[in-house]
């Protein structure tokens, strides 16, 4: 089915809540190409669930998600992996896993059955390393990195996948302030330079208000509100939902 408004992704009447998640229903929203979006809401309101559903990791309960020219559930996993990449809250805990190898896994949807990297794959990885300024981490063990460095490496892995849509679950949690700001600026740069749609969940309106194009707020009652950050700040909805 053709996506009516030419949004990259659009969902109508969506109900999520698979696998012990908070159930959210009647969700409507859209994502445009190259847009940077922050998803907000108090803990446990179902942000992760919504993101996992939009990324195709969780099945949806009802409603429809249109992505590019198809319904998301019509994508098989390997097709989907060419267009959507994720950065999750769970961190890989693997002995002797080197940064380069982890980022190279991002190319795995594009490589042969043995996972060999082509010249092109290696070029793409090098560019990502430069873009995120982590060339010097290349040969380090992932386990030995700081939280901020780990987050950048996981972002690099997702970028190496070359998606149209990048979904990040709480990327700034556990980071110190400079790392938070750095990560936000990187996400902005990625969405602008690569024309990639980026959506991430966060708690921090001050951090994002001058950066993102849209804010999605899941209210305590479970409704999803889509506004510009300015509207969000002036409408008082943010204060109401966070009891600040």
């Amino acid at each position: 089915m053709k996506n009516s408004m030419n949004h990259l992704m659009e969902f109508n009447n969506l109900k999520v809540g698979f696998g012990g998640c908070q159930i959210l229903s009647e969700l409507n929203g859209f994502i445009n190409q190259g847009e940077l979006i922050a998803l907000m809401g108090i803990n446990g309101v179902g942000k992760s669930c919504l993101l996992k559903t939009l990324s195709g990791l969780h099945p949806l309960m009802s409603g429809q998600i249109h992505f590019q020219d198809k319904v998301l559930s019509d994508y098989n996993p390997s097709e989907r992996s060419l267009s959507i990449a994720v950065v999750l809250t769970e961190k890989p805990a693997v002995d002797y896993l080197r940064v380069f190898e982890l980022i190279a896994l991002g190319r795995s949807p594009h490589t042969n059955f043995w996972g060999e990297l082509s010249k092109l794959d290696e070029e793409i990885i090098s560019k990502v390393l430069v873009l995120l300024n982590i060339v010097e981490l290349k040969n380090r063990f992932f386990d030995g990195l700081s939280d901020g460095q780990k987050q950048k490496v996981l972002l690099a892995r997702a970028l190496a996948q070359e998606p149209r849509l990048l979904i990040l679950d709480e990327p700034t949690t556990y980071l110190d302030i400079p790392s938070k700001v750095e990560l936000m600026n990187l996400l902005l740069k990625i969405s602008r330079e690569k024309n990639m749609a980026v959506i991430f969940s966060t708690h921090d309106l001050n951090l994002i208000e001058n950066i993102v194009d849209q804010v999605w707020l899941i209210e305590k009652e479970g409704t999803l509100i889509q506004q510009s950050p300015k509207e969000m700040k002036s409408s008082g909805l943010y204060l109401k939902n966070f009891n600040v």
């Binding site: 990791l57 989907r80 992996s81 190898e101 043995w114 996972g115 996948q161």
Partner: protein, 320 residues
């Protein structure tokens, strides 16, 4: 694979082959006795069986450790060995249902079904966030449950059947005759072929199930193929050699420590040779120290249990 990794693997393989040839020319009766009958009928099958059995158990151990994200996982500690044992016990002691003439066939088949049953049971019982220790305790509980079932079976069996089962359950590489060797090697090759199709998927799965999904993996079919490959590896060994312990859990640690890599494409061959090395070394020790109170399994237990205990004590924090 880069040159350094390749060189390390080559050295490991060479050492393994040296031990194999020593075991061929030096046995219980010393260098002087080179009767072809002893060389080919006694020593040769034992060496080949130890080579494959060690390698296969070790490979299964690596698969399980990646699959459960748990450095303590292994065919014995998870109870998959025990499942295969239960299958074999049913085959040997349930001869009313399984005529003794077909034991050559029923033992491997029942071992496979037993191993697979336990693996599937584990998949159902294990919730995503199970702690590493809980998983192992679950495995031990499964082992003690199957052991109890076996002791119930003993009550309904003849003394010959019980004796057959007990001698099988000691764990040894010496019981495969030259005539049966081609069947064993054939089955081993069959179960090893599966390993060529999963390294890339294991690398993806290693960093987390959801990441693997997002990189295009069909997780259901991956899990199914892993269950089949692992059960095949473990059951072929267990059917012919008995429940051999600790090789599966130790070899992956040695391989990671040697290679300093996590890439399964490099670890898998290394793990295989470490498994062979461990199995052959235990045979070599048995030959060099010819006392009749040591067996393969008791030796592996004597070395293996303290290594795992050390790991537990040293890495308590990471096992939470």
């Amino acid at each position: 694979m880069n040159l350094i990794s390749f060189n390390k693997l080559t050295i490991l393989a060479v050492i393994t082959f040296v031990i194999m040839s020593v075991l061929f020319f030096y046995g219980d009766v010393g260098f002087s006795y080179n009767d072809p009958l002893i060389l080919w009928h006694l020593r040769f099958p034992k060496i080949i069986v130890a080579f494959f059995a060690g390698g296969m158990l070790a490979s299964a151990g690596l698969l399980l450790q990646v699959f459960f994200h748990n450095p303590l996982a292994g065919p014995d500690l998870l109870g998959i060995n025990a499942g295969a044992s239960l299958g074999v016990a049913l085959a040997i002691m349930g001869s009313a249902f399984f005529p003794a003439e077909f034991l050559v066939l029923t033992i491997p088949v029942m071992a496979f079904l037993g191993a697979m049953a336990i693996f599937i049971l584990l998949m159902f019982l294990v919730r995503k966030n199970i702690s590493k220790i809980s998983l192992i305790i679950l495995g031990l509980l499964i082992s003690s449950f199957t052991a109890s079932t076996v002791s119930v079976l003993v009550n309904f069996s003849t003394s010959l059947q019980v004796k057959n089962f007990l001698s099988w359950s000691m764990g040894t590489f010496k019981d495969v005759t030259l005539e049966n060797l081609p069947i064993f090697v054939g089955l081993s090759m069959l179960s090893l072929v599966g390993l060529f199709f999963i390294p890339k998927k294991l690398n993806q799965f290693m960093i987390g199930e959801n990441y693997a999904k997002s990189m295009g993996m069909n997780v259901k079919s991956f899990k199914l193929s892993l269950i089949i490959i692992c059960s095949l590896l473990v059951s072929v060994v267990t059917a012919y050699c008995g429940p051999v312990v600790f090789i599966g859990v130790i070899a992956p640690h040695l391989a990671r420590a040697l290679m300093k890599k996590s890439d399964v494409r490099i670890l898998l061959p290394t793990v295989f040779f470490f498994g062979s090395f461990l199995a052959l070394s235990s045979e070599l020790i048995l030959v060099l120290v010819p006392v009749n109170f040591l067996s393969t399994n008791s030796l592996l237990g004597l070395i293996g249990a303290p290594i795992i205990a050390l790991y537990l004590i040293r890495d308590q924090r990471r096992l939470q």
